[in-house]
Amino acid sequence: MTPVLEIDDLRITYRGSRGEVPAVRGISMSLEPGDTLGLAGESGCGKSTVAGAILRLLPRETQVTGRIVLDGDDVLTMSFGKLRAVRWAGASIVFQGAMHSLNPVHRIARQIAEPIVLHEGLSSDAAEKRAVELMAQVGLPAWRASSYPHQLSGGQRQRVMIAMALACSPQLIIADEATTALDVMIQAQVLALIKRLVAERNIALVMISHDLSVLADTCDRLAVMYAGKLVEDGPSHEVFAAARHPYAQALSAAFPTVGDPAERRNPHGLAGDPPDPSNLPTGCSFHPRCPVVRDDCASTSVELRRARDDWRAACLRVEEVA
């Protein structure tokens, strides 16, 4: 099967008032239809940057190198006209803050219908009819179609975003922190919905979150990023339970399992501060915080190493740990 998405050595450098910020420093991955990938990592490690790069949504002056092949074409080089055709129809994004991702002055049906009109050339009436169907699929009653975003609750808004993402039947959906701001109960609802829809439609899903436990629950594969690089990439439950990279381990330990006596009155954290992307440590960028650091960590730059067939980690001690 041809991969829906293939990313090859993606490097992204922001240029702004703070100088150059290498937000993503060489990432490769590939997704086939039906694949679900969880992308985790702490704030500022570059998760959203990757998501934005897939649809070329980053600020114009950002420097992007490498390849992002979406459905056979390289997003980074394609003409703008083609790119617009790929956007939403090829891949769509569910953004983090639904309140801010919906235009407050347009009715939601219209917003869902907008890409349909654009990409499928339907009349807006027909498109809105489709929008109502889509809303039904995400569990929103038809009368909601004429609501404005502020009249919906957070969970409902997030469902509107999901309906919108499904509008043009893309092969890939990127959900960037789609549930982070939601209440536990709503989060559970929305996650269930995403899982169901992805499974039904055989859509590839990239799900971005900092909550490893959520990702482990939703996705088949789990990738952990640190300072613009993938540090671990493997089957989600195994990574969550026994990560190879010390950072991934710390991350998964930060989400205690309720009922696990070992974690009772025993919070785990990682000492030290998250790295400043414009001023990264040498060698393995995690080494200043690493609990199992070795002498050569500070000098050797580490790429992903194969830990198992379907499991890679970027640590000098990867074999050791395994």
Binding site: G16, S17, R18, P59, D276
Partner: protein, 316 residues
């Protein structure tokens, strides 16, 4: 508008001194540092630097005026030139109908215009800040009444009101200042009120309250210092409106007749028939001077706003 220094943008000052100093010197060192940071960011604003340069030059020209011009030339009895002379090497901007050099008039006019502009702006901003803070802080009917008053002043055609005030009080520098201040504080008050409410909603005020801080502590230690940059920027912008207002009032014949303000010069030019006489040298310099100074203050104020509100900074 966000007024906090931006994390990361201040990366120049992350090196932490371990040396022990008295808290006071710590504070001063930090103030200097943040001023330097402000300056560093401000320097990047090209328009703001241009405005600042203009202001510096004009301030110098104004302050040094007694050393390189002769004020007595402005006395009709001592007017050195002929009637309505066009620009020449002797009189760069020509002369007026009495023979006074326009250049000298404009230079000395700067004193009046700037003085009125600055003092009126300071008064207006002070008044606006006090009222805005009070309206935000006290709530209840005080706040309601103050806001009504503020809205009222915002809504009213200020020039109309200022004219009425000046006529009622009799035209003089002081009354013009008062009239301008009274008719222009409301914008600041509204701004300050919004900002104060924003600051009051910040968690650090909640923390201060939880620590047992009273109103005075909250206002002086937290609200006011955080308000200052905004107030400063707004004051800078206020100066330009005040200068324009003074010019308008003077032009309408409500200026201080014994002083040559720029608006007053224009009024004289107009009365003396400079338009008919084609005496462009009589009208252009004071008008351009107003334009330049107002523009300079505006550029500075906007640059300050941009520095204080990174959202406006865009990608440069």
């Amino acid at each position: 508008m966000r007024t906090e220094p931006q994390p990361g943008s201040m990366s120049g000052s992350t090196n932490v001194t371990t040396e022990l100093k008295s808290p006071r010197s710590i504070v001063w060192a930090r103030r200097r540092a943040s001023l330097a940071d402000f300056w560093r960011l401000y320097r990047r604003q090209r328009a703001g630097m241009v405005g600042l340069a203009i202001l510096v030059v004009i301030t110098l020209l104004t302050v040094l005026a007694p050393w390189y011009t002769d004020e007595s030339e402005l006395n009709a009895a001592n007017a050195p030139g002929g009637r309505m002379e066009s620009p020449s090497t002797e009189f760069w901007f020509g002369t007026d109908q009495i023979g006074r050099p326009i250049l000298t008039m404009v230079i000395w006019g700067a004193r009046v215009s700037l003085q009125v502009g600055l003092v009126a702006a300071v008064l207006a901003v002070t008044l606006g800040t006090v009222i805005g803070m009070a309206a935000a802080h006290f709530g209840g009917w005080i706040s309601w009444a103050l806001m009504r008053l503020t809205d009222w002043f915002i809504v009213l055609p200020s020039l109309v009101l200022a004219i009425a005030l000046v006529i009622a009080l009799g035209p003089s520098k002081l009354t013009i200042i008062i009239a301008i201040a009274l008719t222009s504080w409301a914008g600041t008050a509204r701004l300050v009120r919004a900002q104060t409410m924003a600051i009051e909603g910040r968690p650090y005020l909640e923390r201060a309250r939880a620590l047992g801080a009273g109103n005075w502590h909250q206002m002086t230690r937290h609200v006011l210092p955080n308000l200052m940059p905004l107030v400063l920027a707004s004051a800078t912008l206020q100066v330009s409106s005040a200068i324009l207002a003074e010019a308008s009032l003077s032009f309408l014949g409500l200026g201080d007749p014994s002083a040559f303000s720029w608006g007053g010069i224009l009024e004289r030019a107009f009365d003396a028939g400079a338009i008919s006489a084609g005496a462009w040298w009589y009208m252009l310099p004071p008008g351009l001077a107003i334009l330049l100074v107002v523009l300079a203050f505006t550029l500075c104020g906007r640059a300050m706003e941009v520095v204080l509100n990174p959202r406006l900074r865009g990608n440069q």
